[in-house]
Symmetry: none
Subunit: 188 residues, 4 copies
């Protein structure tokens, strides 16, 4: 509870100011708790970020587990995951910004939660692409590289768009982005 209160307060600040410019004092004031309470709930400041990323990663992993056992077409699976990912990001624009911004922060790259987030998700894309290629659903391509490209594309797009506070209008963006990706990989 306290943990999520702290994390939620942190997300708002992190989205606006970035990790280095968000102080533990700001977080405690925003959460209306004492600074010390942060440290009874988290090992340290980094721990908050780690927790945020891990939580989001866990959600996606759970969804993936279900998705992978479904028997829809592979591109369909990819699309459904994109839908899920996007809908999660749309629920909380600030969180979306944090996930994007801080995942490329070199001073945080050692955190397990961040590593999971930026390594496992593209890895899933790769898995799908490999199968989809074998299946003739997508054109011949380097699945690892393309997986990274897709992940990057989403990441970069969200960053651009969320930065402009327009994620709420995300339906059209989501559509355009899915269309972009589908066209990019689809066999004609």
């Amino acid at each position: 509870m306290k943990k999520d209160l702290i994390a939620d307060s942190a997300i708002v600040l992190l989205a606006e100011k970035g990790y280095a410019n968000t102080t533990t004092r700001m977080i405690s004031e925003s959460a209306e708790i004492a600074v010390g309470t942060i440290y009874t709930n988290f090992k340290n400041k980094e721990g908050i970020l780690d927790y945020i990323f891990q939580t989001e990663y866990d959600k996606r992993e759970a969804y993936l587990k279900v998705l992978l056992t479904s028997n829809s077409a592979y591109l369909e699976k990819l699309n459904r995951f994109l839908d899920f990912h996007f809908s999660e990001l749309s629920k909380n624009e600030k969180l979306a910004l944090v996930l994007i911004q801080e995942s490329s922060n070199p001073e945080l790259s050692h955190l397990a939660g961040i590593q999971n987030f930026i390594q496992q998700i593209p890895d899933f894309f790769k898995t799908i692409l490999v199968e989809a290629m074998a299946n003739g659903e997508v054109r011949p391509l380097d699945p690892e590289l393309t997986a990274e490209i897709i992940f990057s594309t989403i990441r970069g797009t969200v960053l651009n768009v969320a930065g402009k506070n327009a994620l709420s209008d995300s339906e059209s963006i989501q559509k355009e982005l899915k269309s972009f990706i589908t066209h990019a990989v689809q066999k004609r």
Copy 2:
């Protein structure tokens, strides 16, 4: 001279540690100058970043000016700009990482050099896409959004790849990325 010596030393550190973790002392030691010399050449620490981005933006702008007056097909222009952009990034992986990482740093987003970089370049993509659509070279799409997506795609890809110090092997990545983008926008 001193200005570029300082900027170059900063780039190496910034790529490895990020803006917040790179101190002015580190930069001065790496450049083998006194801390004060940074301040005879730049207004402040941010000024170094601003200069780095502005310099790179200027290069691209100059290339674009020439490119836009050439009479190749629009998609060809896009491809040639991607080639140029990528070849510039490949020349200096550390610089590439800095350009990508710090362009999404909210504490630096107010810098003119960064704003130029992240606003003007997608704007150019948009210009090309509009013309290319009118010309029937690309499928119907939202040019502004797609321009952002393309920019993000490059940005994200470079981040992923340069982060792994594999930009040297960039030829295949570059090919894959160009192929990805071309397929994504091309009319069939």
Copy 3:
């Protein structure tokens, strides 16, 4: 408590070295606290000065409130305030020096505590002089200007004398000064 410990330690240093030459480190060492503790008690270095002046001003203001309601002769009131002011300064020579020296420091003139000190006190003199003139106790004079002159006279005298560490012998000085002022304004 801590606040006064810091202020008291600062006074000793400020008297000897002046504001610009007294560092926060010196103050913290002299007060046997950490530098950071200064900043949990004061907004910044200037804040210490502001507090010192405000505190001293408050004492004088409180005394004045009582004095003004007493029904002694006006020149008597002036003399009693001079007695009070002098006795306060004599209690702490270092403080006296700080009050005098830094009240004419242009880099500190914006502080509310200092402005109160150097504006309100002469203002009180003026009030008394106006009444005393109407009453025929003092010769015709410009009350505003004379109030400033009296304030300046005290200020300058304390500076000269405290600078020579002779404030302890202040009784004779105080007598001489009061005699000087009384003669200066008195109707013959």
Copy 4:
């Protein structure tokens, strides 16, 4: 020439910002010379202040030498010196402020020029007072102390008044101050 150009530029800045907040760079820019040129004309930054005070002291000393040999009444001599001193200060308000402000700056009190200024001038007052007392022109008083009080009175008054940029209207102030001092010491 250069020396006076530098000193004059310094005076304007020192009056507004005080010694600690006036940098050598500011002075050089205001004088439209290079920083280094300050150091070919003065030993260091303090040297400028020393020169300013010494110059002003020399003027007063020269005037005093003449005055003392004149055979006017002693109080008249005092009045004439006050006239001279005031007229000098009125010529250059900024200089007046510097002389007052920095003469009480503890970090500068070791400068010979300043020591002359604040020790020799009251010493002259004392000389006059001693003679005037012996002569029955002034009431019985402590000449040393009273000399300091007079010096302080002038100093403080100029500070108050020059700080308000009203030294130009100095005629009335000068009159009031002289009247104040005369009344204060005069035998009835």
